[in-house]
């Protein structure tokens, strides 16, 4: 089972489950680890030092940290479609069968030929690419850029569709807590006890934060025991919810927080019916940020050698995972906290090679320990590292007095102090403030409702973390209205924290500030020299802090160095703007369920399933699926089907589902007055039982929408909109009702879904409808004239509405039934219409017939046309005010040379016409000046047996009969068309009135 001995695993201890051994593979080699390991801890236990290559120079890199701030140990996790590039080994939970591969190297991690870049490093300084690759100009896209792109980037994305599912959810609480360290748990205790609804998010899979590695005594018991007692108490509180594997990544307005939960990332793949990750939008009245602090490196030559590790990470690997990064380890610290590492290492039986402390005043207790244990304490700084891809061999020390020393060690723990995690508190563009005693930025302001506690606020002692967390939790609960008894706060001692600021040590060789992006101290100096002194310029010029770790370990050091070289203080130099997310979030999680066919909801018409049974081809129209045509056996293409449908309507009878039109009930004594203000024409004088075509403008005078509105009762109109504008028109009408004309007594309701509506058209329409409609209803031209509208009874007792309106130009009715009868209606139409050869037709045939009739639709109502452009200028009432009236009169909107709707047909009857072709005067060479319009809508007219279309053409209506060019260079076509009357069919309208 176990392929490689875990040579760097301690015999006992740690929070791993030794009864659950796991196998995993890294770069093709099989290793063993335990449940409770991360990939990083398991690699360390297996003595793997080299885990990755840097971005620019391809330097060999090892594991630097034990958390989400990791810049180096990025791997491609999983394989095939589940491959995840740039995955931090330090936060990847080990599972059995895990496969990971190093990235950004070729051909292998140990022998990376791209490391040749290091030879060019004298030239590859910050911003070098802005100064070169310019000649010859053509070479950029052809040669330089592809090479740069291949070399850049880190891991490889899968390149195929992500097979996993994601979802999103909402959560609410009074107090949201980020982090489960001492401050976070104390905050949860206080808030939970006071009765607040609490959500605590912890990005780790284990709770306790630094307590997991650094222990300590709380309330007189070991920290681990306190954590488990605390969790047990929290579990008894009904409204406290602990979410592990969940990272709070951003704070948005109104107390909305973004978090993502790695629901099943600790498994090879999610179980059936489960998601990989879930995006949470947490709405919280208050938020306590107890996200801790991040230990910062010190910039010295060779500080990127594998085996150089943050001191706290060393402790985490040893204490939490029982994995030893080194056997003989040196410590380089400038602060008291670093010394904990000595205790942890000695406790695990490791050798201490030396402690290099930049502070002159190391305590007597430490010196005594050193003396007893037998390791030197050197007052000075590490100035160089002798080592390579297999790790550290020796370190050079610049002693305070100027002398040098060398120390043999196979690992170096570094502590440059701690930076509070100020991300969340700074995401509303609040800048953190500098705090001298810890030499770090701490939150100054925070988004409304948020407060930082514990190390995140700069309090590094355990006692202080507990006190602050508890107080913040209690205060948050109280301000959210919960005043329950919070009981006694947990108590612990405060360790002393002393630090001598140290950012950079002089030495030979590259000294890295931003490990992942290979930004060195000299890059920062160069940036300063070239005038990129502002931190935002520094960041952009050197790419400092722009890597996947967002500069968590590098930003402060970088600006400290900039401050030094530009002779300013660190607070004067300032920070860049902090931007979410706190850690990178999978795009899949942010999309959730909304992908593939679930990208947007789907609307189905009442006859949808019937149409599907007929084999209809559907087209997406907004969210709707509409039957586009109904192919029949033997038809060779869509055109043949559509031609048949058109001919069937023009020669007999057909029907089409038009339920997608927006339908609005307009009620109330002032309904007519209201419509007069929103339409350009008059509706108050419309007789009950009549329908009228109406045109609406936007306030800027352009046509907004059109449709037929019927008066069903004195105080009840039934308004229809186009399919596309159903929602926007409803919103617009509500605006008119509620904001512009509040004095009118009018009520609006969408009834779009209440009615199944069908256009029944063709000379045999009346014959068909007589089969459907109760015989007592008079459908004759006298009894139900053109533009009549009224309720009728259908055979079988169903109440329906009939509208004698026609889009097709034929004798036609639209018939509406309550939607649940829509399916029955089509089946009955088919049954009753068999004798008349009734033919269902789709949106294509509908479109053909409207073009034959010259009716405008979406392509002409394009938001830049006026009523007059559409040939409907005469509808505009001069006797009343209406929305858009005044602006419609502006000079350019009434100019004589506007493009107006006209018919077009190729002079060669056999030629196909295409939408989007431009209109150019005949005989002229196309150019900007003579581009006079374009073809908006086309169809093959089976009625006229040729392609026809509508076009918007300058002064078009004055030019009927003129031959012009249809110019279509995109499709390589150029042909003559005749400008003609847009009403190609039955221009006097006799058929629809008959």
């Amino acid at each position: 089972m176990v392929s490689h001995a875990q040579s760097h695993r301690l015999e006992s201890g740690g929070l791993i489950d030794r009864s659950a051994p796991l196998n995993f593979r890294f770069d093709g080699k099989t290793f063993a680890g335990f449940q409770g390991d991360t990939l990083a801890s398991a690699l360390i236990a297996n003595s793997v030092k080299l885990v990755g290559r840097s971005f620019k120079y391809h330097r060999p890199r090892g594991i630097l940290t034990s958390g989400s701030e990791e810049p180096n140990a990025l791997v491609e996790l999983r394989t095939g479609a589940r491959r995840e590039p740039n995955t931090k080994a330090t936060t990847t939970e080990l599972y059995d069968g895990l496969e990971a591969a190093s990235q950004n190297r070729w051909p292998s991690l140990r022998h990376d030929l791209m490391a040749v870049n290091q030879l060019f490093s004298p030239i590859f300084v910050a911003g070098f690419y802005y100064k070169t690759f310019m000649w010859p100009a053509k070479f950029w896209e052809a040669i330089y850029e592809p090479a740069i792109r291949r070399a850049a980037g880190l891991g490889r994305a899968a390149g195929v569709a992500d097979p996993d599912h994601y979802d999103k959810a909402w959560a609410y609480c009074d107090v949201l807590i980020a982090g489960s360290g001492p401050a976070g748990l104390a905050a949860a205790l206080a808030a939970g006890r006071s009765g607040a609804r609490v959500i605590l998010c912890e990005e780790d899979f284990a709770l306790g934060g630094r307590l997991l590695a650094d222990g300590g005594m709380i309330d007189g018991m070991p920290a681990a025991e306190w954590v488990s007692r605390t969790l047990a108490e929290l579990a008894t509180l009904p409204d406290v919810r602990i979410m592990t594997r969940t990272t709070l990544f951003g704070v948005y307005d109104g107390g909305t927080y973004g978090a993502f939960e790695r629901v099943n990332d600790h498994l090879p793949s999610p179980p059936e019916h489960q998601v990989r990750q879930r995006l949470w939008r947490v709405v919280a009245k208050r938020c306590v940020v107890a996200a801790g602090a991040i230990e910062r490196p010190i910039v010295f030559a060779g500080n990127d050698t594998p085996g150089v590790m943050m001191a706290s990470a060393v402790r985490t690997y040893v204490a939490r995972y029982a994995a030893t990064p080194a056997k003989r380890i040196a410590l380089f610290t400038n602060n008291e906290d670093g010394w904990r590492t000595v205790e942890t290492a000695l406790g695990a039986g490791l050798q201490i090679a030396a402690v290099v402390d930049a502070r002159p005043d190391v305590s007597a207790a430490h010196r005594a320990l050193a003396g007893k244990t037998g390791f030197p304490v050197l007052n000075g700084s590490v100035s160089g590292v002798d080592g390579g891809k297999d790790g550290v061999r020796k370190i050079s020390v610049a002693l305070a007095g100027g002398a040098r020393a060398e120390v043999e060690a196979d690992g170096l723990a570094v502590s440059g102090g701690w930076n509070p995690a100020v991300g969340l508190t700074s995401y509303h563009r609040g800048r953190p403030k500098w705090q001298d005693d810890i030499s770090a930025f701490v939150p100054d302001s925070a988004p409304p409702g948020m407060v930082a506690a514990g190390a995140a606020s700069g309090a590094f002692g355990l006692g202080a973390c507990l006190r602050q967390g508890f107080a913040a939790g209690a205060a948050a609960a109280q301000s959210a209205g919960h005043n329950g008894n919070t009981g006694t706060p947990p108590v612990a001692d405060d360790e002393a924290f002393s630090l001598t600021p140290l950012w950079q040590v002089a030495g030979k060789g590259k000294a890295f500030v931003d490990y992942q992006h290979d930004v060195t101290a000299s890059d920062i100096e160069l940036a300063q020299r070239e005038g990129f002194e502002s931190v935002e310029h520094l960041k952009r010029y050197t790419t400092l802090g722009m890597a996947t770790d967002q500069g968590k370990t590098s930003n402060v050091a970088g600006l400290a160095i900039m401050a030094a070289v530009s002779g300013k203080s660190i607070p004067e130099t300032g920070t860049t703007i902090y931007r979410p997310p706190y850690v990178p979030v999978a795009i899949g999680a942010l999309a959730g369920h909304h992908r593939d066919e679930n990208f947007h909801a789907t609307r189905l018409t009442p006859s949808h399933h019937w149409a599907a049974e007929q084999g209809a081809v559907f087209v997406d129209t907004g969210l709707w699926k509409r039957a586009q045509w109904y192919p029949r056996a033997g038809e060779k293409d869509w055109l043949e089907s559509v031609n048949r449908e058109v001919k069937a309507v023009r020669g007999g009878v057909g029907f089409c589902d038009v339920s997608t039109l927006g339908k609005i009930d307009v009620h109330g004594p002032d309904a007519g007055a209201f419509l007069d203000r929103v339409y350009i024409n008059t509706f108050a004088n419309l007789a009950v039982g009549k329908a009228r075509y109406g045109l609406m403008l936007r306030e800027d005078g352009m046509v907004y929408d059109d449709g037929t509105t019927s008066r069903l009762a004195e105080d009840h109109y039934f308004l229809t909109t186009t399919t596309a504008k159903a929602g926007p028109v409803m919103q617009h009408l509500e605006f008119c009702r509620q904001v512009l004309f509040p004095e009118l007594d009018v009520q609006l309701t969408s009834v779009s879904d209440q009615w199944a509506q069908f256009s029944v058209a063709g000379p045999k329409t009346r014959d068909l409808l007589r089969e459907i409609v109760d015989p007592a209803e008079d459908l004759s031209n006298e009894g139900f004239p053109f533009m009549g509208a009224r309720e009728v009874l259908l055979r079988g007792g169903i109440r329906a509405r009939l509208f004698r309106i026609s889009f097709s130009g034929e004798m036609a009715f639209e018939i509406s039934v309550p939607a649940r009868y829509g399916d029955a209606l089509v089946r009955n139409l088919m049954l009753a219409g068999k004798q008349f050869g009734v033919t269902p037709y789709g949106t294509e045939a509908l479109g053909v017939m409207r073009i034959e009739k010259g009716h405008v639709a979406g392509p002409e109502l394009n938001g830049t046309t006026t009523a007059a452009d559409l040939g409907l200028g005469k509808m505009m009432s001069t006797k009343k005010d209406f929305v858009g009236r005044v602006m419609a009169g502006r000079e350019a909107l009434v100019a004589p040379d506007r493009q107006v709707v006209v018919g077009v047909k190729p002079t060669d009857r056999a030629r196909r016409l295409r939408s989007g072709a431009h209109i150019i005067p005949k005989g002229e060479i196309p150019g900007t000046a003579n581009d006079q319009g374009y073809v908006t809508s086309v169809c093959f007219s089976p009625t006229l047996d040729q392609w026809i279309g509508l076009a918007l053409v300058e002064r078009g209506r004055e030019r009927i009969g003129e031959i012009v060019h249809a110019h279509d260079p995109l499709r390589g076509e150029d042909y003559d068309v005749e400008l003609c009357n847009p009403v190609f069919y039955d221009p006097d309208g006799g058929r629809q009135r008959g």
């Binding site: 590039p85 740039n86 030239i123 070098f128 690419y129 802005y130 100064k131 070169t132 690759f133 310019m134 100009a137 950029w140 291949r150 850049a152 980037g153 880190l154 490889r156 994305a157 899968a158 195929v160 569709a161 992500d162 509303h428 020299r529 070239e530 005038g531 502002s534 935002e536 952009r540 890597a547 967002q550 931007r579 997310p581 990178p584 979030v585 795009i587 899949g588 942010l590 999309a591 909304h594 992908r595 593939d596 066919e597 990208f599 789907t602 997406d620 306030e699 352009m702 938001g863 830049t864 502006r890 000079e891 295409r914 989007g916 072709a917 900007t928 581009d931 260079p969 995109l970 499709r971």
Partner: protein, 417 residues
């Protein structure tokens, strides 16, 4: 020092100690022929063209923070000239031609990368609209191709062709479109303009206009003192209304927040710039490897330079709908810029009713691609007191006259443009 591989190599011998400031750190003089407010791409480009094309070198660019700290440094770096309406078409092509020679003009590698911009279509109506637009481009001498489904599949086999809610049917391709390195454009113009005499004055915030008895603007009050000016040009994008208000002007502009996003750096995945036609999503991949993407504006007036989750989610939904392969790619950073959304979605470059004050504004979310063109035509206006012929329709009075340039056809509602 001229930038080249040779100068780089030479400098390497001295440990790069010989490099000078990229642009001079100028202090304000008492008077300039032209003062440009706004040290973004447009302001700096204007100064460069004033000095290089129109011979006016006594020019200052005033920047309240550090140059490029506004929208020039926060955009998705796309360049294109695929517009459909007279006024826009010619102007953006002028700009495109200037992009094509930018590196040689400025001696600065702005990484202009013409790897193609494709607008995908998902319906016949959309195809027809793109056909109209593409033909407009062709008639104006701009490259455009209408691709069918097969051609799109060949070019981008990784799109969702299997189970898309709104299947891709084709696209309008402009091969000369692409991206440029946004910060480098700012630094390149600063570098070149400074070298021929333009003063770039950072940390200099304008607090008011100096007017003479006739109301003519004769200078500006700033945080670094009063600065006299023969003419003052505004190129302050999202701050246009605020600065114009100092001169008593109200503009047909609203400021809105537009978010943009970048993913972690990955090896080359997406070869071009693409826009999804059935949702709010567009994407390209930077030279560094990050997917740079965005979508719709948040939709409400804002000067906060940050957005909210609904749009962030909407954009990622669009991304996953089009490119289901990016599910496991991680979003690294989100940011927001202030867009000067005009009432017809098109820019305004004109004199204002206040004598001596000139306006360059209303770029909506499309200002980056316009940078060189905007600089040239604004410089022309400032130098000659006449509209450049390729910007003749960007007049301020077009709204009053009704001659809007409304590509989307949504009217006087900025958040719909």
């Amino acid at each position: 020092m001229k930038y080249s591989i040779f100068s780089l190599a030479r400098a390497a011998f001295s440990g790069h100690k010989t490099w000078q400031r990229t642009w001079r750190d100028a202090s304000p003089k008492d008077h300039y022929d032209v003062v440009i407010i706004g040290g973004g791409g447009h302001g700096l480009a204007t100064a460069w063209f004033l000095a290089s094309e129109y011979g006016i070198r006594n020019v200052a660019v005033l920047e309240k923070g550090w140059i490029g700290s506004g929208n020039a440094g926060r955009n998705t770096t796309i360049i294109r000239s695929n517009y459909g309406l007279p006024g826009n078409t010619g102007f953006y092509e002028l700009s495109m031609k200037l992009w094509e020679r930018m590196e040689q003009d400025l001696n600065y590698n702005t990484m202009v990368s013409q790897r193609g911009v494709i607008n995908l279509y998902h319906s016949d109506a959309q195809r027809d609209a793109y056909a109209r637009r593409g033909n407009t481009m062709r008639i104006n001498g701009i490259d455009a191709e209408l691709l069918d489904l097969a051609a799109v599949k060949k070019m981008m086999p990784f799109l969702n062709f299997d189970n898309a809610r709104f299947p891709v049917q084709g696209g309008l391709l402009q091969r000369r479109g692409g991206t440029a390195r946004h910060d480098a454009v700012v630094w390149g113009y600063a570098h070149a303009a400074s070298a021929i005499g333009v003063d770039i004055i950072q940390n200099c915030e304008v607090s008011g206009f100096v007017r003479d008895a006739n109301g003519k603007v004769t200078g500006v009050e700033t945080s670094r003192g009063k600065i006299g000016a023969g003419k003052v040009g505004m190129a302050v994008a999202g701050s246009s209304s605020r600065v114009a208000a100092m001169a008593g002007l109200r503009l047909p502009i609203e400021s809105h927040v537009l978010q943009a996003f970048v993913s972690e750096a990955i090896k080359p995945l997406i070869p071009n710039v693409m826009t999804f036609g059935a949702g709010h999503f567009y994407v390209s991949q930077s030279d560094k490897g990050g997917l740079v993407f965005g979508g719709d504006i948040d939709g409400y007036n804002s000067y906060a330079q940050r957005g909210n989750m609904p749009v962030m989610e909407d954009v990622c939904e669009g991304g996953m709908a089009l490119l289901p392969m990016i599910g496991r790619v991680r979003l690294l950073r989100q940011w927001g810029g202030i867009m000067d959304m005009s009432m017809d979605g098109s820019p305004i470059i004109d004199k204002t009713p206040v004598d001596g004050l000139y306006l360059n504004a209303g770029w909506c979310y499309g200002g980056f691609k316009a940078t060189p063109g905007s600089g040239l035509v604004f410089a022309h206006l400032l130098a000659r007191d006449e509209l450049h012929k390729e910007a003749a329709r960007f007049r301020l009075d077009r709204f009053r006259r009704g001659a809007m340039i409304d590509e989307k056809g949504v009217g006087a509602q900025p958040n719909l443009h």
